[in-house]
């Protein structure tokens, strides 16, 4: 058993003249939550569907749990699919079957006898907290409840791998959070590996260990989440990250000017990953009392065990020391940015 549960090697797929995937290579390790982010049309859906063979590929290799999908016939693919769960943006529950029957379906498809199935279904319903909804039809459930049923169904075959296709995109923020929490819990309790695709950085930030950024069918950036968030290398990643960067409070934003004000102050923001950046900036600022440093806004989170976020300082504006400070920061590769200037 290798360390990687999913391995894509130079995978390409085109629909006519439209290239959906272009030479995509990635590895998902056992037990991790791997996120794939990109804008709509970036090829995310195609990518995740190659992993369970719903989408065939034109070139390259897809290896799941040590079996090369290209070498499998339909029956072999079905055996792999029974060991790979999948959840969907629109839940895809059978509307004419009850919650119980929906969760039971994978076991029925696998030919498990009826009396063995029931016990497993009740366990799954307990796991997602829907035991009391067993006899209800999906139409009577909320979005979050439907996705819980979807998760229970996906887990029925005791999969080692769970694929999530924008599973929280149709849910409100609060429900999204509860579903993400459930997914995170599952990796801990059941040791399931999760591959998820999303267009929301907040999802990546909330639960993923590693992330790949997909653009026009190509992976443009890939690595541990804290690293990609802390040092985004491409413009697309930076743009996607802006959605999770907390904006300045409105009161500060309103007073901000583009030009320095005599005797005024300036706002500088540190974008950082890793405690080093913050410590380094604090050291720089503390060594010079002339700055009259003040912290006006800060939001630092821990992502994958690493502090990540932004701190905005207000400093007394002095032209040449400020230039020196920025130069020093750049030498130490600290993301330091002047946001603007305010009255003193």
């Amino acid at each position: 058993m290798s360390d990687a549960i999913v391995r894509l090697e130079s995978v390409s797929r085109a629909f006519g003249a439209v290239v959906a995937l272009n030479d995509v290579s990635l590895e998902v390790r056992r037990g991790e939550i791997f996120g794939i982010i990109g804008r709509s049309g970036a090829g995310k859906s195609t990518l995740i569907r190659t992993i369970n063979g719903l989408e065939r590929i034109d070139a390259g290799r897809v290896v799941v749990d040590d079996s090369d999908l290209a070498a499998l016939d339909e029956a072999g693919l079905n055996r792999v699919r029974r060991k790979v769960g999948m959840i969907f943006q629109h839940f895809n529950l059978l509307s004419m079957k009850t919650v119980f029957e929906n969760v039971e379906l994978p076991l029925k498809l696998a030919g498990q006898p009826r009396d063995e199935r029931a016990q497993a279904v009740w366990q799954l319903l307990d796991l997602v907290g829907l035991r009391d909804k067993a006899t209800v039809y999906p139409a009577k459930l909320s979005g979050g409840q439907k996705q819980r049923v979807g998760i229970a169904r996906a887990l029925a075959g005791k999969p080692a791998l769970l694929l999530s296709d924008e599973a929280t995109s149709a849910l409100d923020p609060e429900t999204t959070l509860s579903i993400l929490r459930l997914l995170k819990e599952l990796t801990g309790r059941l040791g399931v590996t999760i591959v998820l695709i999303t267009h929301e950085m907040s999802v990546i930030r909330a639960i993923c260990d590693r992330v790949a950024v997909l653009d026009h069918g190509q992976i443009v950036e890939q690595g541990p989440v804290w690293e990609v968030f802390g040092h985004p290398r491409t413009e697309l990643t930076q743009r996607l990250l802006r959605t999770v960067r907390p904006p300045l409070p409105e009161s500060l934003e309103r007073d901000l000017r583009r030009q320095p004000v005599a005797g005024g102050r300036c706002l500088v923001r540190v974008d950082g990953s890793g405690a080093e950046s913050y410590a380094a900036v604090l050291a720089l600022l503390a060594s010079e009392p002339g700055w009259q440093t003040d912290i006006v806004h800060a939001e630092v989170d821990r992502v994958g065990g690493h502090p990540l976020g932004t701190v905005t300082f207000s400093l007394r504006y002095r032209e040449s020391p400020l230039r020196e400070l920025l130069a020093t920061a750049e030498r130490q590769s600290i993301g330091l940015e002047v946001l603007g200037y305010v009255d003193g």
Partner: protein, 218 residues
């Protein structure tokens, strides 16, 4: 007295019932698999067979475009081959079933096509075979529509069975023609129309109710 005509009506009603009932069940048993085939062999189906799909569609269209009264006569040799006779209620069942089967196949196709593609994909992701996808997702999800479609088919069959009087099949249509039209017994004609209206309404209302009761999406 109008009550004298009751046995006449009872016999005719029974004949219509048998013709419609048997040919209805036959068209369901034959038309539903054809409808499923039309959907799954389509270009975006789960068992793509474009050539087969086109051939099947063409055959179905050919039968659908032939007026029933012509089909009735054209099928006489075939009918003799199957049931050994070309006249009477039993003989009428053959052309009725053959006319209703492609009709129901198209009606079923429409309902089956409306099943959310996401559901079929979910079943594929669960490792379902094609047959399992048809049995567990396609048919159950389309059930209310399939039932409504069957109701419409029955109503059409009731109308068509009146024409089968032309081959001496008996039934309500035959009664209306022979007594009502040829013997100028207008009250029998009116009676037949009233009975037909009642039956058709009952079938339609009953079918709609059942379809609604079975629909879990509401």
């Amino acid at each position: 007295m109008w009550t004298d005509d009751i046995p006449l009506f009872a016999t005719a009603l029974g004949e219509t019932g048998i013709m419609v009932g048997v040919s209805g069940l036959l068209s369901l048993a034959l038309g539903l698999p054809l409808g499923v085939l039309l959907v799954i062999t389509h270009d975006d189906g789960i068992w793509r067979r474009p050539v087969f799909n086109r051939v099947l569609g063409t055959i179905i269209n050919a039968f659908r475009s032939t007026p029933f009264i012509i089909l009735l006569v054209a099928l006489i040799p075939f009918t003799r081959l199957i049931v050994g006779t070309t006249i009477g209620t039993t003989a009428a069942i053959v052309p009725l079933a053959i006319a209703a089967t492609p009709y129901y196949a198209r009606v079923a196709e429409m309902s089956l096509r409306e099943v959310d593609r996401g559901l079929l994909e979910a079943l594929r992701a669960l490792g379902a075979t094609r047959w399992q996808i048809v049995r567990e997702a396609l048919l159950p999800e389309a059930l209310p529509g399939l039932l409504s479609g069957f109701t419409v088919t029955l109503v059409t069959l009731i109308g068509a069975s009146a024409m089968a009087g032309a081959v001496g099949a008996g039934g309500l249509g035959d009664l209306a023609i022979r007594y009502g039209y040829q013997r100028f017994e207008t009250d029998i004609m009116v009676g037949v129309i009233v009975v037909l209206i009642v039956i058709v309404s009952a079938v339609q209302v009953g079918g709609d109710r059942l379809a609604r009761r079975l629909n879990r999406r509401l």
